[in-house]
């Protein structure tokens, strides 16, 4: 009888401990499930805020560029590298965007690429917009890789950000959407 009593007490204790462990695990899962995912949180963090200003001298023609000087226009900031396959693929789209929409300011921010490679890249593939190197701007924008594209509205606010390649159409869609939403259309 003593053994039976010990067995009953022992199994009760095991059940209490198991229940406690289950409650802790469920609480842990609930906390993890309700957190923002990193990507979503990062994209939302900068959108709607004033875009970080940056300056640079274009590697193509030594002209000066400053982001705040583009106030009044939509500005596309494209982060790229010559060794990045999606960057090579999207480049013709940026050339078309620049040719078809001169009212939109376009600037390329170089990522981990020597000047000589940038010059060769643009000579082979075309493009006459400012191409600048600015390490601080890369961190200010929270760049994590290439290609990344940001769109700044005429008042200087960041309204769009994407990782991966873009097309002329996708950029114009983002700008048109913003124009409609803000009454600029």
């Amino acid at each position: 009888m003593k053994t039976r009593m010990n067995g009953t007490l022992g199994s009760q204790r095991v059940r209490v401990i198991a229940f406690g462990v289950l409650v802790v695990l469920l609480a842990f899962i609930a906390v993890l499930a309700t957190r923002d995912s990193g990507k979503q949180a990062r994209a939302g963090r900068l959108l709607g805020r004033t875009a970080p200003n940056f300056t640079g001298t274009s590697l193509l023609d030594d002209s000066s560029f400053e982001l705040v000087a583009q106030t009044g226009k939509y500005t596309v900031v494209n982060v790229f590298a010559t060794w990045c396959a999606p960057c090579v693929k999207e480049h013709p789209e940026l050339v078309r965007l620049h040719e078809n929409h001169p009212e939109i300011s376009l600037v390329s921010l170089v990522f981990d690429t020597p000047k000589v490679d940038v010059e060769k890249f643009f000579k082979q593939r075309g493009g006459t917009w400012p191409v600048v190197t600015n390490q601080r701007a890369l961190v200010d924008f929270g760049v994590t890789g290439v290609p990344e594209t940001y769109i700044v509205d005429p008042s200087g606010r960041l309204i769009f950000h994407t990782n991966g390649g873009v097309t002329e159409k996708s950029i114009m869609r983002a700008i048109d959407t913003h124009k409609k939403a803000s009454g600029r259309a």
Partner: protein, 158 residues
């Protein structure tokens, strides 16, 4: 309620003494390199921040281009006189709190700090319970004695 035996008490005291010695050794034996130079501060901040494009590596340890860019920016801000907390705050603002290798002690990150403490407390309590049960079980009861006597008689040894 039975008191702890002197043997169990001595064992617990020895264990606590050992833990205290280990704790002192860890504190005294820590690296005493200067921590307030530009290089040391940059390294310390970079070690606390995960490289955005690497799996699990800090900005200080990673050779990725993104990590180098962030490391250089940290160094620039340290040289310009920004405080460590301001620089960490800037990085969190740009890359997210999930990039911190040492989560903040608030919100969901508090779990990382509280869980080990709870685990140690539960483990010590479990050990104490186990010691007590082993000692209690070592004392035979009257029922045990009766049982042994009965068995001996039945085998002709009584």
């Amino acid at each position: 309620m039975k008191k702890l035996s002197s043997g169990s008490t001595r064992a617990v005291v020895r264990l606590l003494a050992l833990l205290a010695v280990l704790g002192v050794a860890l504190i005294v034996g820590r690296d005493r390199a200067p921590t307030n130079t530009v290089e040391a501060r940059t390294e310390a901040i970079a070690k606390d921040f995960k490289c955005p494009t690497c799996q699990g590596q800090s900005v200080a340890d990673s050779k990725a281009a993104t990590a180098k860019v962030i490391y250089d920016e940290i160094a620039r801000r340290v040289r310009s006189g920004e405080s460590d907390s301001a620089i960490r705050g800037f990085l969190v603002d740009r890359y997210g709190e999930e990039r911190l290798l040492r989560p903040k002690a608030t919100g969901a990150g508090a779990i990382v700090w509280i869980a080990p403490v709870i685990g140690v407390v539960v483990a010590i309590a479990g050990l104490a319970l186990a010691f007590r049960r082993w000692r209690v079980r070592a004392v035979p009861t009257d029922d045990d004695r009766d049982l042994v006597t009965t068995l001996r008689k039945s085998r002709g040894n009584g």
